[in-house]
C-alpha cells in the first residue's frame, strides 16, 4: 500500500483536533503538577509532620508504578469511591498526579540548593516559614530547578499520548482510531512519529534556550 497524501490531507481536520486536545490536556496538567510540586516540596523541606511523609510516600509510589496502570486506576477504579470523572479529566488527573511527583522532586532539589544562610537570615528577620518560602525559598528554588522542571514538562507532553489508551481522541488517539477503521497505518504512523518528534524536539530546544538565558548572570 503506497503512501497516500490525499488521504492524509483529508484527515487533517481530525488530526488537528487531536493535536489541540494533546496541547490542552498537557497545558492543564503542567500547571496543576507544578502547583503540586511547589506544595509537596515545601512540605518536605519544612518537615511538616504527616504531610512531609505523605508527599514522600506519594513520590515513591508514583515513581515505582507504571503510568498506564495509574491511568486505568483513575479512570476505571476511582468511580468505586464515588469519584466519577469524564474521560478528559481522568486523563488530566492521571497525568497531573504522575508529573506532580517528579515536580515535587525537582522543586525539592531547588530548595535544597538554597544557601542555608538565607533561611537563617529570614528567620533572624522574623519571617514566618510561609513567608520564607514565598519570598525567598521558592523563587530561588524555581530558578535553579527550572531546567529539570521544564524537562519534566516536556516528558509530560510526550506521555500525554498515554491517554489514548482510555479512548481519548488526542493526537495519538485519532491516529490509532484511523488505523483501526481505515487500515491506513502508513500515513497515520508517519504523522505520529513526525508529530511527536517535532513537538518534543521544539519544546526541548525551547528549554535549552531558557536554560541558556537563566545562566546569563553566572557567565563571565
Amino acid at each position: 500500500m503506497a503512501f497516500d497524501i490525499g488521504y492524509l490531507v483529508q484527515q487533517l481536520p481530525a488530526l488537528r483536533a487531536g493535536f489541540l486536545l494533546t496541547i490542552q490536556i498537557s497545558a492543564i496538567a503542567v500547571v496543576l503538577s507544578v502547583a503540586i510540586g511547589m506544595v509537596g516540596a515545601s512540605m518536605r523541606v519544612m518537615r511538616v509532620p504527616v504531610l512531609a511523609q505523605f508527599f514522600a510516600a506519594y513520590v515513591e509510589f508514583i515513581r515505582n508504578t507504571p503510568l498506564l496502570v495509574q491511568l486505568f486506576f483513575v479512570f476505571f477504579g476511582l468511580p468505586a469511591l464515588g469519584l466519577t470523572l469524564s474521560l478528559f479529566w481522568s486523563g488530566v488527573l492521571a497525568l497531573t498526579l504522575w508529573a506532580g511527583a517528579f515536580q515535587t522532586e525537582n522543586v525539592r532539589g531547588g530548595l535544597a540548593a538554597v544557601a542555608p544562610g538565607l533561611r537563617e537570615a529570614a528567620r533572624a528577620l522574623g519571617l514566618t516559614r510561609g513567608q520564607y518560602l514565598r519570598l525567598v525559598g521558592l523563587p530561588l528554588a524555581v530558578r535553579t530547578g527550572l531546567p529539570s522542571m521544564l524537562n519534566t514538562c516536556v516528558s509530560l507532553v510526550k506521555n500525554s499520548a498515554y491517554v489514548s489508551a482510555i479512548g481519548l481522541q488526542d493526537l495519538a488517539g485519532v491516529a490509532f482510531d484511523r488505523i483501526a477503521s481505515d487500515f491506513r497505518a502508513f500515513e497515520m504512523l508517519a504523522v505520529l512519529l513526525v508529530g511527536y518528534l517535532a513537538l518534543v524536539l521544539s519544546l526541548s530546544a525551547a528549554v535549552r534556550l531558557i536554560e541558556h538565558r537563566l545562566q546569563a548572570p553566572f557567565r563571565a
Binding site: 515505582n64 503510568l67 468511580p79
Partner: protein
C-alpha cells in the same frame, strides 16, 4: 476487603500467568537492551564524528517518541513490511529499541567516566582499539553503570504494561480480564480493587529494584563515579 482478597485468590492462576509474562517480557527486553546499549554506547565514544552523530540521532529519536507510539508503530506497521509480528515479539522489539537508547546513554556515560589517562596509556602501549575497550574501558565502566542499569530494569518492568494495549496477556491485561469476567459473570465491577492490587504489585517489584539501584550507587559510588540512573519520567 475480604471480598477483594477472595477475588484475587480465586483468580490467582490468571494473575500468575500475567506476572510470568511480565517478567518474561522484562527479561527479554533487559537482555536485548543491554546488548544494544553496549554496542551503541561504545560507538558513541569512538573517534569518528559521524558515528557518534548517528548514535545520538538514534538515542534522541527513541527517547522523544512516546513509547506507546513506538509499540503501536511496530505492531501495526510490521504487516506493511510483509513481516506481521505477534503481540509479544512486537512489544519486546519496541521496548528493546527504546531500552537500547536508554542503555546506550548509560554505557556512554560509564565509558566516559573512566579516567582519560587509562585510554591514553593503553594507546601508548600499542593496544588495538578493540582490546582497549575489551581489557581497559569496559571492565572499569561496568562498576559505573551497574546502579543505572538496575534503575533501567525498574523502568523496563513498568513499561511492559504497554503490552496490554496490543494484546499481550501480561500482568495489567490479566487484571483487566478478571474485571471483565467478574462484570459479565457476577455482575460486579471490581476495577478499584483489581487495578489497586496491580498497582501494588508493580510498586513492590519496582521498589525493590529502585532500592537495589540506590544501594549499589552508595556502595560503588565510594570508589567510582557512577552514572545516574534514568528517570521514570523517561518512560
Amino acid at each position: 476487603m475480604t471480598y477483594a482478597l477472595d477475588l484475587i485468590a480465586d483468580n490467582a492462576p490468571l494473575l500468575l500467568i500475567g506476572l510470568r509474562a511480565t517478567l518474561m517480557l522484562a527479561s527479554v527486553t533487559l537482555l536485548s537492551s543491554t546488548i544494544l546499549g553496549v554496542v551503541l554506547g561504545t560507538l558513541a565514544t569512538v573517534r569518528a564524528r559521524w558515528v557518534r552523530l548517528l548514535v545520538a540521532l538514534y538515542v534522541e529519536t527513541f527517547r522523544d517518541i512516546p513509547l506507546i507510539v513506538t509499540i503501536f508503530t511496530i505492531f501495526f506497521g510490521a504487516p506493511f513490511f510483509g513481516v506481521p509480528l505477534e503481540p509479544f515479539p512486537a512489544v519486546a522489539l519496541g521496548l528493546s529499541l527504546w531500552g537500547g537508547a536508554n542503555g546506550a546513554e548509560i554505557v556512554r556515560g560509564g565509558i566516559q567516566s573512566v579516567q582519560k589517562g587509562q585510554r591514553e596509556a593503553a594507546t601508548a602501549l600499542g593496544l588495538r582499539p578493540w582490546k582497549i575497550y575489551l581489557l581497559i574501558l569496559w571492565p572499569q565502566a561496568l562498576r559505573a553503570v551497574l546502579p543505572a542499569f538496575t534503575g533501567l530494569l525498574a523502568l523496563i518492568v513498568q513499561s511492559t504494561s504497554l503490552g496490554a494495549l496490543v494484546g499481550v496477556t501480561e500482568f495489567l491485561k490479566a487484571g483487566g480480564l478478571i474485571i471483565e469476567r467478574s462484570t459479565v459473570m457476577q455482575g460486579i465491577n471490581p476495577a478499584f480493587e483489581i487495578y489497586g492490587f496491580v498497582l501494588l504489585v508493580y510498586f513492590l517489584v519496582c521498589s525493590v529494584l529502585t532500592w537495589l539501584s540506590r544501594r549499589l550507587e552508595r556502595r560503588l559510588g565510594r570508589s567510582t563515579t557512577t552514572v545516574r540512573a534514568p528517570d521514570a519520567a523517561r518512560l
